[in-house]
């Protein structure tokens, strides 16, 4: 359970969320992205293929991360949301804030 970060050949930082993104671990994700921004990274993809659920604190962390990346002139995409996770974004209207791709491949192709 946790986050793993890799960099693809196109210079995109890909963060995989394994397990949950909730109040107990959201700061870890925010720190991971902040560190990458400070190292000069500007393209981010968060992959939810291994994510069981997200709570409102996790959604809030994504909102904060999105804002921070935009402030640095960067770009954030989300991918691999299952049906339940996508419904959560639609319910909160956050699907209108984020660029959401079906797959990691599709998201990477659009950077």
């Amino acid at each position: 359970m946790g986050f793993s970060s890799t960099k693809d050949e196109g210079g995109v930082t890909v963060v995989a969320v394994d397990g949950q993104l909730i109040v107990g671990n959201r700061q870890e994700l925010k720190n991971l992205v902040q560190d990458a921004l400070e190292e000069g990274e500007r393209k981010f993809l968060i992959d939810f293929a291994g994510t069981a659920y997200i709570d409102s604190s996790g959604l809030g962390a994504l909102v904060s991360i999105s804002k921070k990346i935009r402030e640095h002139g960067g770009e954030l995409r989300l991918a691999e949301l299952n049906e339940d996770l996508r419904a959560l974004f639609e319910l909160t209207k956050l699907d209108t804030l984020f660029a959401i791709a079906e797959s990691r491949t599709e998201a990477l192709a659009n950077f």
């Binding site: 359970m1 397990g19 949950q20 909730i22 109040v23 107990g24 671990n25 069981a52 659920y53 997200i54 709570d55 409102s56 604190s57 959604l59 809030g60 962390a61 909102v63 904060s64 804002k67 339940d84 959560l88 319910l91 909160t92 209207k93 956050l94 209108t96 804030l97």
Partner: protein, 156 residues
């Protein structure tokens, strides 16, 4: 961390007058620290699912709403005070579960919490917890003091 969380499960075969007998009652006392939430949700979800037929959406909704309620109880209710605990009681029925989460805070009035549905709310990182609970659960009730929530979720 699992060893420190004491889950009590009481099984019953006595039918209630409504015809829907409690088949298991789970109770858990949780310290007021958010690091315990993931473990507690996992433990309770496992017991709510074992031996029952439930839709795939049931587990997701249960985990999200319970995680929200526990975060509210620990952070807002108990103020993360280490001397306070959160009480969780779950009635596992054949058709549905009732999740009771009670903190030791002074309570709040749930009617005063606005729903984050305005366009300006989208970029706000906070304020979606209660909205998610109300949206994902079939029924939500609070006690008069406002320090205890009862959430009902049907299995199908």
């Amino acid at each position: 961390m699992t060893a420190l969380l004491r889950l009590t499960v009481r099984r019953s075969e006595v039918a209630a007058p409504s015809g829907e007998g409690i088949t298991a009652e789970i109770s858990l006392r949780l310290p007021s620290e958010v690091v315990w939430i993931e473990e507690a949700v996992e433990l309770i979800a496992r017991h709510c699912l074992a031996g029952y037929q439930s839709s795939s959406r049931f587990r997701f909704r249960l985990c999200v709403a319970l995680s929200e309620a526990l975060a509210n109880a620990i952070v807002c209710g108990n103020g993360e005070d280490p001397t306070k605990v959160v009480h969780i009681r779950v009635e596992c029925l054949v058709e549905q579960v009732h999740l009771h989460v009670t903190d030791q805070g002074c309570g709040f009035n749930p009617r005063t919490i606005p729903e984050p549905v305005l366009p300006d709310d989208i970029e706000n990182p906070c304020g979606r917890g209660l909205f998610l609970i109300r949206s994902l659960m079939d029924q939500v009730r609070f006690n008069d003091r406002g320090n205890s929530i009862c959430m009902t979720l049907r299995r199908h």
